[in-house]
């Protein structure tokens, strides 16, 4: 049925929106990563600009607060020579009672070419993609617990940069998986790229058994989870979840599932440690690991800009 077609691909299978990594052809994922590689050099130049999106208007629609992700999207769009308009919607129109789709209709009328959307509800970017004008492209910058595809792609870029090939890799994703859109995007991307084993590690309140159906090995023991891993992706534990029905305390979580140098020794000697940021030192990750030799947390940030440039330039070049 029409409505069941993957809404982020056009009839030629080309990417017109980036809503989720799930269901993307491997060739599209690889194309994004390869394109990001060519943009990395742009970021090292004195004049850090290419004219690919000149004259285009990119609207950053952040229905949920975020400084970091919004900034990296803004930098990426500007380096592509786009005009960037930042709208902090959490504090404007919806506060006045305007509906999501009315906001979108109004912004479309301002000749927007691309919406970069963050929303607290899973699936919101799908609704926007369905209802905006056909020439408008939508990039999901994080929706609820569902997806954060550019983070997933920059994580893949980072892994490929340090490990080259996915086929033999054991990747452990550790922490609050149930609430994490990053974890879901990473899991889909790793499956598409053919990682040998994907592990989801954490207590049962944060790592549901249903994840097995996404092709994941579920581990409720940190030792089992990171033993012989090539890549360890630590997730941020949100403050509001540190004590309550999900966990008794941040301290107990750190003791069982925090990444210390001692636990890291269980992984492969050349393992890399990643984190989508911002990190909670002493909650999910020890400072000595975050700042240590295995950590690639800062390269992730650098690659993030190139990956977002790649995504925006590719979808802007494809028609609905």
């Amino acid at each position: 049925m029409l409505s069941r077609r993957n809404p982020q691909l056009n009839t030629h299978g080309e990417l017109i929106h980036l809503l989720s990594i799930e269901g993307l052809p491997k060739a599209v994922v690889t194309q994004i990563l390869d394109t990001a590689g060519t943009f990395l050099s742009v970021n090292d130049r004195d004049v850090k600009k290419v004219p690919l999106l000149r004259g285009k208007s990119v609207f950053n629609l952040f229905f949920e607060n975020s400084t970091r992700t919004r900034t990296t999207f803004e930098i990426a769009a500007k380096r592509l020579s786009a005009d960037v308009i930042n709208l902090d919607i959490a504090r404007s129109s919806t506060a006045k009672g305007e509906s999501l789709l009315d906001t979108i209709a109004n912004l479309s009328a301002m000749q927007a070419d691309m919406f970069v959307v963050r929303h607290s509800e899973s699936g919101a970017p799908y609704l926007i993609a369905q209802h905006c004008a056909p020439h408008v492209h939508v990039v999901n910058a994080g929706d609820g617990r569902h997806a954060h595809p550019t983070q997933g792609l920059l994580d893949m870029y980072t892994i490929r940069h340090f490990k080259q090939d996915f086929s033999g890799l054991v990747v452990a994703v550790v922490g609050d998986i149930v609430h994490s859109r990053v974890a879901r995007s990473d899991i889909h991307a790793l499956s598409i790229l053919g990682a040998a084993e994907i592990r989801a590690v954490g207590p049962k309140t944060l790592v549901p058994g249903d994840l097995r159906e996404m092709g994941v090995r579920v581990c409720h023991d940190m030792g089992e989870g990171i033993r012989d891993a090539d890549v360890i992706i630590m997730l941020r534990l949100q403050n509001e979840r540190m004590s309550g029905a999900m966990l008794p305390s941040a301290g107990e979580f750190f003791k069982s599932f925090g990444l210390t140098a001692e636990k890291l020794a269980l992984a492969r000697p050349d393992a890399i440690v990643m984190h989508p940021g911002p990190i909670n030192r002493g909650v999910e990750i020890a400072s000595e690991v975050a700042d240590g030799r295995a950590s690639v947390i800062l390269p992730q940030v650098t690659f993030g800009i190139a990956v977002r440039m790649a995504v925006m330039s590719i979808i802007a070049g494809n028609e609905a």
Partner: protein, 441 residues
Amino acid sequence: MNILVQGGRVVDPRSGRDEHADVAIAAGRIVAIGGVPADFAAERRIDATGCVVAPGLVDLAARLREPGLEHEGMLESELAAAAAGGVTSLVCPPDTDPALDEPGLVEMLKFRARKLSRCRLFPLGALTRGLGGEVLTEMAELTEAGCVGFSQAEHAIDNTMMLMRALQYASTYGYTVWLRPQDRWLGQGVAASGPIATRLGLTGVPVAAETIALQTILELVRVTGARVHLCRLSSAAGVAAVRAAKAEGLPVTADVSINSLHLCDVDIGYFNPDMRLVPPLRSARDRDALQAGLADGTLDALVSDHLPVRHDEKALPFAEALPGASGLELLLGLALAWGEASGAGLQRALAVVTQGPVQVLGTALGSLAASAGALVAGGVADLCVFDPDARWPVQPDALRSQGKHTPFAFAHSGTALPGRVRATLVAGTVAFEGPADSAAA
């Protein structure tokens, strides 16, 4: 008016009748089924050639959003939708705005429906004042005003002492309490717990939300002897619990919605808000168990679970969309489709939307109980005449309901529904007449 329904195939699940016969109607009652007296002077003839003449449908769960949305003319449009769907009686839950907890509200609603004379309307009264779960309503007064039972709608009582008292009080008078089994705490998610909800990042409602509430209710039925109707089961484990309760002889009945009978969580697709329903769509295994339960009589009735949802209430991210869908006009087609696909057959498919629901209502229907949901000479002339071979694609914008949202839209499902209603009679009055041709097919 004297009406003669001619040349149709009369199918009546209660008597098991299935034969070609004319039906003669006078003064709101059926005077003859076959063997129409030669001197019967029909003022109106309805050609039912090629059609099934069945009892009018009885829908145990249809929300009309009145009181609440009177200014949008909801009652008019939704009762017209009922008539177009062959529904001649419907039961509406008390979660209106305000809740149906005062006799005056119930009388006003019944009065307004009667004036429209499209469909019989049987309200459920609120079990507790304002559905707040703290103070009992005046159930005897509400019954006098026209309530056929008492319900908490979606507002589960988590105070078990209060629930027990409510069941005791209702059973004092022999009133049936209608409860949708869902634990208040475990029931807070927006999709069924499972791999789909996990993958989409939607909060889940585990099966335990239904089974825990069911066990609590069933235990209190044992204690109080109250008669309880369990609304809109959603899980295989729920069906099993009801089957066991019936085998034990507990005075319980149960229903399932057209949505849970035909759909499962996979149908959510890419966050389709039309699939945002309560109870949430569960796994294909649960759906299959619900179908089996409806076939073997564990579940007594199939309900439309109709709720007209405005576009602005649905065009929202999945979790924020108002749960519910229009269903009155689809009830017959989806009952027939289930009868065909499951092998349950035409008689059973019609039974779950006619005789079954009437048995659930029982004595609350008063004198109507003897003939509603059935075709009986001397009984009320509530009829549904439909063409079983006409298949029609569901086009939401063509629905008479003001709610244009249904998970069965042709654009999504790609399948057409069997059974096109040609005429609906309520108390011997034509409440709906469809096109005689099969243009819709």
